[in-house]
Symmetry: C2
Subunit: 226 residues, 2 copies
Amino acid sequence: MNMHRHFETELDSLKEKLLTMASLAEAAVNRSIRALVERNDELARTVKADDSQLDTLEMEIDELAISLLSKAPLAIDLRLITVAMKISHDLERVGDEATTISRRALELGQEPQLKPYVDIPRMASMGLDMFKEALDAFVNRDPAKARAIIPRDKEVDALNKQLHRELASYMIERPTTITRCLNLMVISKSLERIADHATNVAEEVVYLYEGRDIRHSGKAAAPVTV
Amino acid sequence: MNMHRHFETELDSLKEKLLTMASLAEAAVNRSIRALVERNDELARTVKADDSQLDTLEMEIDELAISLLSKAPLAIDLRLITVAMKISHDLERVGDEATTISRRALELGQEPQLKPYVDIPRMASMGLDMFKEALDAFVNRDPAKARAIIPRDKEVDALNKQLHRELASYMIERPTTITRCLNLMVISKSLERIADHATNVAEEVVYLYEGRDIRHSGKAAAPVTV
């Protein structure tokens, strides 16, 4: 009984670390987008610090997970632990994307702004909302909620494709904007990838609580592009 | 004893599935590059089939891993199993990159060729060599070999950056080439990401056999860009 209680405490600590990662990742993305929109170089430079905290937490979660795996009493616990490892990896990657965005924001800050940013902040909040809900679904054992997140990935994909097309025509019309357009394409692609990671998490949560693996099932319709 | 033998057999089957994934991923990348270089649309279209085999194998490996985790007698086995899950995820992603490359090869096939491809096939074989050696290091329990792979990621990064710069200036000089240049940039980035996945695998193998987590240690020098 005592050992079981100890296991539960460690499992709670694993979940807590995941939620800490989630808020750090969210803060990093928000900061990188604010740095872009407000043309704030100082803010862009702070994003890297969040990113290294995420890296450290991912390694801590891995260590904790390995130790928990050896004590897990039930099959569902094994799954939960391996899913937690995967989610932490996805969150770490979100931090990488935020770093990419802030680096591109710094480059964009050196030239006049091309146009007001509308779709980019929208894509960012769509991806972050998906992430928040996927983590809620994980914590509250709610596979239905997780399942509802998955189709939203296509909306973000569509926005990315539309922006890519617009930027590509803009470049052709005005070749002097090429560098800026390329930077914006990279940012848009990073945001699209954040939504992909949120979708991964949602699929993992469905798999965890329904025991059905739905990864790759809608893949043909949501290709990796741009 | 009998149960232990059964565990060993399942563990071997896990490793075997990983090696199958590795050859499929390698074949997919080679095929996508050949499709690009030879301007062979039919070949480009076959890449998707390899990719779905990889998706299926990843799910099988996950299931097998979960079942093995509950029977693992030693801590090193737990690590090996979780590392195998991570490697299989990296291999699945390599398949995704091959699909991206072949899609872009199809688009490039619709216009005259921009220039002979030299750096792109070179980047592909560099990334694939890294992968092969990382898997050898995994199977032969050779962390030193795995460690030697990691710095090579920077060479592939440098090639990608150089190609990106060349293509960006080319676009500015000749705006009619913009679409082709963008497609080539995406392909180059995909190849850079394949080398990243190989580096992940190498780092996981070092972690597995040396127990030291070296992920993220060289990160500042190898940023996620383009």
